[in-house]
Amino acid sequence: MRDLLRILIAPLIWLAAFSAVYALQGFGCAAGLNEAIFVGMSFLRAMLILAWVLTIATLVGIFYWLERTAPRLPWTSAISRITACVAMVAAIWSLFPVTFTSICN
């Protein structure tokens, strides 16, 4: 089961982060956080960018962990590495709109 979790863990983190960032955007807009300014940008955008960076950092950490630890079945090592890369690309690509698109309209 642990080997199966190794394959699933990175995409699972992407999915959770993707949902969380989308939720943060919704909550932030509802709470008016877009109006507040933080280091020259909207406070909400700063939070969203932080969440994006944290997601990528977490996935880098997961990738590092997968590289450093051995699975019970060597075959799952390659699969989990690919799914981790997919999750990382997905995180960078699907969440990069936090940097430039309008947030609440």
Partner: protein, 833 residues
């Protein structure tokens, strides 16, 4: 024991009842797989007839063939049948039939659950079919958007038929998904480690996990909409704090992964068939597995791309547009792997390959129009036009029907034991291919010219007349082609000559059995050492028939199977299956009476139906287990394993875990709905918040804590290793858990009584549902505990036979956890306001 004697003995043990009783009492995966497939293709035919009616109506402008009322029912039922009564059950049927054979097993993990799922599907399907025959079929489109389907705009019973019928049918999908997950992970042939599993099994595992996490949002949405329609809880009524967009979110949280739930099993068939037909192995096996996993996850990040036209902020739209373009990548990896496999091998243009080539042409076009629709400006232009309908059919017909037809031709020799003789299929394929593209390629065109989907007629001067006529002619050609396919398969199944074993020279285990397969699949279970055991050991069938495998000696007339470790597939325990029984059909009928009581608003009957389901569930599990301890069992190759009931992680425990995944997803969807309404919906805050009281959280949390702590006090499993029976476990922790759960239930009853009037605002309605959710789980765990007490008293539980204790502990912990989260959710406004 010689092979013939073993065959006779095993057949006597595993055979279904004979005569008319067979279909009602069978729990055999072979029978039920065929029944699932037969029923699914029946609905495919009905859905096809409905499609012909639609095309007849649209063939000419200003047509009076059908009025709008009937037309609405026809296109709604066409979509509903194809999605819920054909595509998903066809996957279930394929998986139920094939998986044990591919895994080297004698049956699935829970044979009676397979049967229960089949009967729920059958009864639910007939419920919807009957509504159509009496003119009361659903008419709000297959995605049933409120407010059109709300009580004000659709006061009749039509929408209720959809909401209750589909939910009833979805029980079948959840049952099958739990069944498949446990079977794949625990019921494989010894030695079949994860890397040696056939590729179709990987696809089936991922699909089953997707069903567990994609269907619950729709089940929740259906419950909420039915509650709004039946008793006026305003979840989707904007005037009272609801929001119709919540339905769209819940529906598409299911609806988009659904597309991949339909596509992936079909892709699994392609990955299985192409290497065999090309006389090679699948190119990039690991990449394909990884891309299937990636596709599954990415498909859950796309749901909002169905809602681009609803006015969602740009950033949200951009997230989902980006994710939608990304999903093409793992799909392309598979397509390139298949092309590479054919390139690497020596493809033979047999019937299955014809349909696979048809799949390539069709699905790639569907995928490309999908990428077009993922681009927001294009989507805004094409939204709700016939272009989207055409895209959908290219993806689903191209991505599911073509591969499934390939699969039917590929596996027909296995199912029927006959060799293909009549050659109608080639002509049928030509008609299907030409008819399909004639119908739906034209539909792209007319959609771009502005024809909206679901219109029942159009004016003569629109410029759409000729295109629609071409589309309708194509539709009828397609229908004739599909009828010829069924005729070809039926003729070859009934009157063709007997075939030989493994006609395609495949390397996987399903071809190592006699044709058609015996009731027990394998006379002895193979010890697997590679991904293609039959290619490595050509005389494997003979060896297995001679008993040179596991469980070669039938014991005491019991239906025996092994469970294995998840990763390496080392034998872990011995499972004894229950025999043939009518309990599943009875249980499904009683479950159906629950849904019918809601449909016909006979609410006084509903509690009796619930009690009857609980009583039958009690009877269901009571028949399992044993009142005496068993020594470890000899299974062959000098190995022994304990009986499953004497382990901590029996198949029931695993089944519970996967059921909890589905349940937790439903709960997560409920939390999402609450947060969505609170932050997005108009007319919030509500006129009245729940008044804070310290008693409910105090009693509830204390009760949950007591239940969990007491559950931990039951004897640890280490004691069973002593080899002696130490008698019945202590009942005190059980009573303490019962007390704790009762307190938790009492807290929810208290909250339900104090909730602001749920019909006045969505806030009260949400609190009601959350409280009811927590209460339901507490009562379920209480029922299990009471059951456990009776089992202990009757001697079914000992310190060795403790698998049921572990299952009940799991549910106690889960119910307590859910209860605490429910309490936090209910009281959160008090903290925030």
């Amino acid at each position: 024991m010689n092979a013939l004697k073993r065959h006779r003995l095993l057949t006597r043990i595993w055979a279904s009842d004979s005569g008319w009783k067979r279909c009602f009492t069978t729990v055999s995966h072979t029978d039920l797989g065929r029944m699932f497939l037969g029923m699914a293709f029946f609905y495919f035919a009905v859905g096809g007839v409905l499609a012909m009616l639609i095309r007849a109506q649209l063939a000419s402008p200003d047509a009076a063939f059908m009025g709008p009322d009937i037309y609405n029912q026809v296109f709604t039922m066409h979509g509903t049948m194809m999605m819920f009564l054909f595509a998903i059950p066809a996957f279930e049927g394929l998986a139920v039939y094939l998986l044990p054979k591919m895994l080297g097993a004698r049956d699935l993990a829970f044979p009676r659950l397979t049967a229960y799922g089949f009967w729920c599907y059958t009864f639910g399907g007939f419920m919807m079919l009957t509504s159509m025959l009496v003119g009361l079929a659903p008419d709000g489109g297959w995605f049933m958007y409120p407010p059109l389907t709300g009580p004000a705009a659709s006061p009749g019973v039509n929408t209720d038929v959809w909401l209750l019928g589909v939910t009833f049918v979805e029980i079948s999908a959840i049952c099958a998904a739990v069944e498949l997950c446990v079977s794949i992970l625990k019921f494989r042939a010894p030695g079949m480690s994860l890397d040696k599993m056939p590729i179709f099994v990987w696809y089936a595992l991922v699909t089953a996990l997707m069903i567990l996490t994609a269907f619950p949002p729709l089940i929740l949405g259906s419950i909420l909409l039915e509650l709004e329609r039946a008793i006026g809880l305003p979840f989707f009524d904007a005037a009272l704090g609801g929001d119709s967009l919540l339905w769209q979110h819940l529906f598409w949280l299911f609806g988009h992964p659904e597309v991949y739930i339909i596509f992936l099993p079909a892709a699994g068939l392609i990955s299985t068939i192409i290497p065999v037909m090309s006389r090679t192995s699948l190119l990039g096996h690991g990449w394909v597995v990884a891309s299937v996993v990636a596709l599954a996850f990415l498909s859950f990040g796309l749901w909002v791309h169905h809602m681009f036209a609803t006015g969602i902020p740009h950033m949200g739209v951009a997230f989902f547009s980006a994710a939608s373009t990304l999903v093409a990548v793992p799909t392309a990896v598979q397509v390139f792997a298949w092309i590479g496999t054919m390139w690497h091998g020596r493809p033979q243009l047999q019937m299955p390959m014809l349909y696979i080539l048809g799949f390539f042409a069709t699905f790639v076009i569907g995928g490309l129009t999908g990428v077009m629709l993922a681009i927001v400006p294009f989507d805004w232009q094409a939204h709700d036009t016939a272009f989207v309908t055409a895209h959908l059919h290219y993806v689903l017909f191209g991505g599911f029907v073509f591969p499934v037809l390939a699969g039917l031709y590929y596996y027909a020799p296995l199912v029927t034991g006959r060799r293909r003789f009549f050659r109608i299929g080639e002509y049928a394929f030509g008609l299907v291919f030409i008819g399909f593209h004639g119908t739906f390629f034209a539909m792209h065109w007319v959609g771009l010219l502005g024809q909206r989907r679901r219109i029942y007629t159009y004016d003569a001067d629109t410029g759409w007349e000729l295109i629609n006529l071409i589309s309708s002619i194509g539709g009828f050609v397609l229908a004739i082609g599909l009828a010829m396919v069924l005729l070809d398969l039926a003729l070859n199944a009934i009157v063709a000559i007997r075939g030989k074993r493994n006609p395609w020279r495949s390397g996987t285990l399903e071809w190592s059995m006699m044709l058609p397969p015996s009731a027990y699949n394998f006379a002895s279970l193979p010890r697997v050492t590679s991904r293609e055991p039959l290619a490595d050991i050509p005389d494997l069938p003979t060896r297995l028939a001679r008993g040179e495998g596991y469980l070669a000696v039938p014991r005491d007339g019991r239906r025996e199977m092994l469970t294995v470790s998840t990763t390496h597939a080392h034998p872990e325990s011995l499972v004894v299956y229950p025999g043939n029984t009518a309990l599943p059909i009875l249980m499904a009928a009683v479950t159906g009476s629950f849904f019918l009581s809601l449909l016909f608003k006979i609410y006084w009957f509903t509690p009796f139906a619930v009690l009857a389901v609980a009583a039958l569930a009690w009877r269901w599990v009571w028949g399992l287990g044993s009142q005496t301890d068993e020594e470890d069992q000899e299974i062959g190759f000098g190995e022994t394993v304990p009986h499953a009931m004497q382990t901590d992680r029996s198949q029931g425990w695993w089944g519970s875990v996967f059921l909890m995944v589905a349940d937790a997803t439903l709960f997560g969807s409920l939390i999402f709905g609450y947060a969505f309404l609170w932050t997005i919906a108009p007319n919030w805050p509500p006129p009245q918040w729940l008044a804070f009281s310290v008693w409910e959280p105090l009693i509830g949390v204390a009760g949950a804590a007591v239940a969990i702590i007491a559950a931990r006090q039951t004897p640890r499993p280490m004691q069973r290793r002593s080899g002696t029976t130490t008698g019945m476990p202590h009942l005190l922790p059980t009573w303490q858990s019962l007390l704790g759960l009762s307190a938790l239930a009492a807290a929810f009853i208290g909250l339900l009584l104090r909730t602001p009037l749920p019909t006045e605002h969505a806030y009260g309605a949400v609190l009601c549902v959350i409280s009811a959710f927590g209460l339901f789980h507490a009562l379920l765990a209480i029922l299990m505990l009471v059951f456990l007490v009776f089992r202990i008293r009757r001697g079914f539980i000992s310190s060795r036979r403790r698998s049921e204790v572990e299952i009940v502990k799991l549910w106690i912990n889960y119910a307590a956890l859910i209860g605490v989260v429910c309490l936090v959710l209910i009281l959160s406004p008090v903290l925030f306001t």
